[in-house]
Each structure stands twice: as C-alpha cells, then as structure tokens.
Symmetry: C2
Subunit: 374 residues, 2 copies
C-alpha cells in the first residue's frame, strides 16, 4: 500500500512534468509561427510596399510581447499600446511646442533637452512606486521610450505624425498577431495555473501531514528515516515559497478575459487569501517536522500509547485538506456543515484526550484552528 | 523603556524608508541625465551627422537597460550586447546562405521563413529552461529579436554589414553611458542591499521572539493585546517571503564588479543559505505565535512559574540572533567558541528544567537547534 501511494505520487509528478514540457513546446511553436507571420510583412513584396522599413516594429512587438501565459501577453500588449500612444502624443506636443517657442535655434535644443530630463526622471520615479511597478511597469517604460524617440526625432523629421501613424499601425499588426495566436490557439491560461496550483497545495500539505505521522510512529523501525523528512520539508517549502509566483499569476489572471464559471468576477484575491492561509499552515507543519528531528524524543512506549488517537487526528486533518482541495478543483461549494464541522468536533474531543497526557498535542491543535478558521 | 524600544524601532523603519526614497529619487535623476546625454546624439548637429537615425538605438538601449541596481544594469547590458552580437552574426550568415542557395526567387523567402521559425522556436524553448531564464532570459530575447531583424532585412537591404555595424556602435554608446552613470555615479549596489537585508532579518527575528515572550507573559494585563501578534507575524512573514527577492538580489550581486571585503569571491550563495535557515526559523516563530493565540492556555499561576526561565531563554536567543546579525554587518568572524556556545549550553540546562514541567519547551528547543546548527 505504501509502495502504491509512493508510485501514485511519482506518477502524478511525472505526469505534471510532461504536461508542463508539452506546454513549453507548444508555446515555442506558437512564438515561431507568430514570428513567421509578421516576417511576411518583409518577405512578401505587396505587403512590404505598404509598410516598408516599419515592418521592423511588428517583429519587435511580437518578440517582446509574446509571453508564456495568455494574460501576460495581453497585459504586456495593452501596456505597450497605451504607453506608445501616451508617449507619442506627449512627445509630439512637446516637440511642436518647442518649435513654436523658438523657430530654429539653440534654444530649441535646450527646451527639448530639459523636457527629456524632466519627463524621463519623473516617469522613472513613478515607475518605482510598488503598485505601479506591479502592473504597469512595462507600460511606463514604453512611455518613456516613445516620448524620447518622438521628441528628439521631432527636431529632425518633417512628418512626425506620419511616422507615428505608420509605426503605430505596424505595432498594431504585431499586437493583433500575438493576441490571436496567444488567446485563440491552444491558450495557456495563468488563471488555470493558479487554480491548479492552489488545489495542489492542499494535496501537498495533506501528504506532508501524513508523512510526519508515518515518520513519527515508525522511527523505531528505521525505515526510510533519511529520506522522509527531506521530502516533507521540500513539499512544505514549495508551498511556503509560492507567494511571489501566486501573486504574479493572479496579476496575469486579472487580465485574462472571461473564461470559466465565475466570468469576469473571478475571485482571484480569494485565491491569494487561501494561499496565504495555506502558507501559514505549511509553516506550522515545518515546525512539526522540526520536532520530529529533535534528538529529545519520548520513550517508544509513551509514543505507542498516543499512536492511535494521533493518527486518527492526523488522518482526519489530511482528509479535510484533501476534501477542501477537491472541492476547489471541482468548483463546488464544500458542504461545511455536514462534512467538515462534525469531523473537526470529533477531532477536538480526541485531541483533549491526548493533550492531557502529552505535549505533542498543542501544535496539532493549532493546525486544527488554522483549518477551522477557513 | 518599552516606549523607548518602540520609538527606536519606528525611527529605524522611518530612517530606512527615507533612505529608500532618496535612492529612488537619485535613480530617477540618473536615468534623466543618461537620457539627456544620449539625446545629444540627435540634438547636436556634428554628432547627428555621424550617427544619423541610428541614434534611436542608443536611446532605446538606455531606456531598456538602465535598472535600479548597478548589477541589474550590468547584467541587462551584457545580455543585450551578447544577444545582439550572436543574433546578428547568425542572422547575417543565414541571410547570405539563403542568397547563395537561390539567387532571387521565391525559394529565398521560403528558406528565410523556415529558418525564422526553427531558430525562434528553439530559442524560445531554450529561454524557458529555469536556469537560463534566471540569468539569461533577456539575452535570449534580444538574440531572437536581432536574428529576425537581420535575417529579414538582409533580404531587402544591400549593406547588412554596415547597418549592423552602425547599430552596434550606437548600442555601444548607450551601453557606455548607462554603465558609466550607473556604476560610477552614486551607484546602488544590489550586493549592499542583500547584505543589509540579511542582517536586518536577524533583527526582525530577535524582535519577534521578544515580542512573543512579552505577549505571552502579559496577557493577563491585557496591554497591546490586539496589536502585538499582528506585528510579530508581519515581521516573521517579511522574513518568510524574502526568498524570491533574495534570489534576485544575489543574481544581480554576482554581476557586480569587485567591491567590499571579499573581492570577486563574495560568498553570495552563503547569504542565500543563511537566508534559508532564517526563513525556517521564522516558520517556527510563526507557529509559536499560533500557540499564543490558541484559546487553550495554561493557568496564570502555571505561566508565572515558568516566566523566569522562559524569559531568560528567549532573551538569550534574541541576544544570540542580534550578535550574529551584528557580526554579519561588521563582517567580522563571530567568536563562536567564546561567546555563543556557552550561552547555548546554559540555555539548554535552563530548558531541561522547563521541559520536565511544561509543554511549551520543545518548540523553543527546536529554535535553539536551528541556531546551533549554524
């Protein structure tokens, strides 16, 4: 049975790995196709006659915008679009203003130089504000870039507006190709990834709790002693350190258009909250594991006396976690009153009987509380 | 005294905040200056006659490369440089190969199209490999971009090599301006940031442990009951969730040229290991805090009986952490044999006296172990 559980887990991991690899391969092929499509602007004579050298901007847009997740591509594309438009408009007005003030002369260059300094420096400062950095970093960067390019070439080129229009239209073509391929052809949704990884965390924690129990009550038999604690802690740590990844995914997921059960009002912040609670639980399980590794252990007979109730409590905990994870996967309301609460109550009773005799209890009690506070 | 400690902490936080703000302001000004400098390529006639429209690439390079930390700027700049050169060389050879094989004809476009697909798709797959993504993501992106631009414009432009040379020289100018301003004028080192934040983590954990103790033995007096646990857990969590930031900083720090005591062999991986241990300790402190919030508490008299030894142990722990942090800040070897070990030994004695009577002990024991394992 243990062999069965382990091979089951291994299979699950392998399966996920090959799935991830397939997605990477798919993404690479999609990028290749998108680039070939925009290269046609150069390669086909009738198209090239239309756009000319500006086809460069379409290629640049595709390379820079096309990201692994559909939401990321959309976010970067929209950021780039708005950044370009805003920068272009501001750059044009600043250039014409400078030309109005002093027609041809050194003063012109001074005005342009100082507005380059002021706008770039303040936009860079703005870019460092955490909330802006999180969602609009790329947009502000493109704004700075476009503003500078437009204002300085405004001094030289006669037809700034035409230049801007042509570039914008090729950028638009690149954007359209990206969005089409990224969102419509086998899309990789960041929202699915966040959903799956949150559900997977429940699994990992349930596995870890079971692993802790197994390890604690089998120490005397010395099986798998070295291996187990490490895999427990690696599982817990993968939960503990998931925060920045979760936040990135949620950020992309917010850009992703309607899909799935909840439509546009998908509760992404709820996912982040659940993730936070799971991370707290993971911290507790890690300290449990620390207790297991401590050299100061109770005698085997004492351990034996609490084996049964502890195992009952631990398995219930793991079961509850699995149940919660399952209901998240299937997106159905977990029947809290009927399923979870009675289990928790019986667990608490069981716990009191242990706590009165042994010090191992209070930690697990906290586990229970963390779950009860869901 | 408590007021003194709190205002001291507040001052420290405020001080750090304003320091960070100053650095952001400085960074913005530096970016502004760098952009004005490269804009001179456009604004001054003699320079413009030399570089022409290619001045655009210098501006683009500065906007895209100039990052907050000097190491990040260097890393992006070198990535961009190597990516451009590699992509350019490969693009040129592919373009000339295509022209050799079939002079003028539809076959030419087919060869170019398929090599665009193959190279882009495989480079994109390569880019998704975690170890490459971590350090060379930007370089590979620039490689794809340059390769595509060069190969498709190789079909149209007669003088690809000249074009490449001119662009490369303006990119080089942009790079030189960035490196000069970023590394030589009030540089912001990622290495310093990593060093300080690692030392700061010791502080935070020492504060948290003290906070836990204070809270536990003052519950009956009901002072600051609501506030304290939250600030403890926020401190611990800021340590717990520091991993991705630490890794980024270490990554940049590795690019930063010689500075500080250790020269080029700065032990950045050691910093990451210390950070990992501190995060484990933070997980334990968080679960300690969980015990404090549990509704099931021992009676006040029992608590009083263990107040003195527990406080002695906790304060010793906090003191050791501070000592370790201090020695990290001052970069001197911590006198382990003379200072830390006797403290730990006396702590263990004290602990045994608590453990025999009370269940609060084993958790702190793990704390001690985590530190002893340093």
């Amino acid at each position: 049975s243990i062999f069965g559980i382990i091979s089951n887990r291994t299979l699950r991991v392998l399966d996920q790995k090959s799935k991830q690899d397939m997605r990477k391969l798919l993404h690479s092929i999609k990028v290749g196709v998108a680039l070939v499509l925009v290269s046609l602007l150069y390669l086909l004579d009738p198209l090239y006659e239309q756009v000319g050298e500006n086809a460069m901007w379409a290629i640049m847009t595709v390379v820079v915008i096309f990201e692994f997740y559909a939401g990321a591509t959309l976010s970067k594309g929209l950021n780039r679009g708005f950044g370009t438009i805003l920068g272009g408009v501001l750059g044009c007005s600043a250039a014409t203003f400078a030309q109005e003030v002093c027609r041809m002369g050194k003063g012109n260059a001074v005005i342009i130089g100082s507005s380059v300094f002021v706008i770039s420096a303040s936009a860079t400062y703005f870019r460092l504000v955490p909330s802006i950095k999180k969602r609009y970093d790329y947009g502000v960067m493109i704004f700075i870039l476009t503003f500078n390019l437009v204002i300085v070439s405004g001094l030289r080129a006669e037809k700034v507006l035409e230049l801007a229009r042509d570039r914008l239209s090729t950028i638009g073509m690149g954007f359209a190709v990206c969005i089409f391929i990224s969102l419509l052809v086998f899309p990789t949704w960041a929202s699915d990834e966040l959903h799956d990884s949150t559900a997977h965390k429940f699994q990992l924690l349930a596995d870890s709790i079971e692993g802790c129990l197994e390890n604690y009550f089998r120490l005397d038999k010395e099986i798998m002693k070295d291996d187990q604690p490490r895999s427990i802690s690696s599982r817990c740590k993968s939960v503990l350190h998931s925060r920045s990844k979760d936040e990135t995914l949620a950020n992309f997921a917010k850009w992703e258009p309607w899909h799935g059960k909840f439509g546009l009002n998908y509760p992404w912040t709820k996912y982040l909250q659940v993730g936070e609670l799971l991370r707290e639980l993971a911290a507790i399980v890690i300290s449990l594991k620390g207790c297991l590794q401590s050299p100061r252990q109770p005698s085997p007979s004492l351990r034996q006396s609490i084996e049964e109730p502890s195992e009952a409590v631990g398995l219930t905990l793991a079961w509850i976690l699995r149940e919660l994870g399952e209901s998240l996967v299937k997106m159905r309301r977990c029947n809290r009153e009927a399923v979870i609460v009675p289990k928790l109550k019986s667990m608490r009773l069981e716990m009191s009987s242990i706590v009165s005799t042994f010090k191992f209890g209070p930690i697990e009690n906290v586990d229970g509380l963390a779950i009860a506070s869901f």
